[in-house]
Symmetry: C2
Subunit: 106 residues, 2 copies
């Protein structure tokens, strides 16, 4: 399993993406706090966090009996750089912004 594979497999699940969304809004949350935002059992959430950690998308730090989770955006940026040409980036970025705006309007 390559580093790439870990990242993309981690992002392939909607629950894990939602966890990243939660951490994007606010970092440093515990497993229990994250679990309370989901329908899933604690074990399911824990498994997902393990996958995200292994991929480097989430970094965790223990504090007493708690484990705090932080979002690491670097792997996401690397995905971007793999297929978005530096020279055409401005144009693509403009298109992406437009798409976002259209969706916000509807």
């Amino acid at each position: 399993m390559t580093a790439d594979d870990l990242v993309f497999k981690a992002l392939a699940d909607a629950t894990r993406r939602f966890l990243l969304d939660l951490l994007f809004v606010r970092d440093g949350r515990t497993l229990t706090e994250l679990e309370s935002e989901l329908e899933m059992t604690r074990f399911g959430v824990m498994k997902h966090l393990r996958v995200l950690e292994a991929a480097g998308l989430v970094v965790a730090r223990r504090s007493g009996r708690e484990k705090l989770h932080f979002l690491n955006p670097v792997p996401i940026r690397l995905i971007h750089d793999r297929w978005v040409d530096k020279y055409t980036e401005r144009r693509v970025s403009a298109l992406a912004d437009l798409k976002n705006q259209l969706e916000e309007m509807s």
Copy 2:
């Protein structure tokens, strides 16, 4: 299946990422040409291209009996924008560049 899901599931497979890499280098290739770059049978490649098309990562155009495939980078940019804060983007980008350089050196 949401639009998100289609994109991330499409990216979860190493063969499909390799197809994107091929199209990133040069666009407008046919199924047969792409197949020749892979160990897989034509059917396998075709399935993967269907998935990439459904996700909007690849756009195809028929020309006679051939089907030409093109890379569409917009969904990739949207992934980036989802978790990389506009304000911290410069810093993250610098880190990503550093990581790329380190890997090229080793």
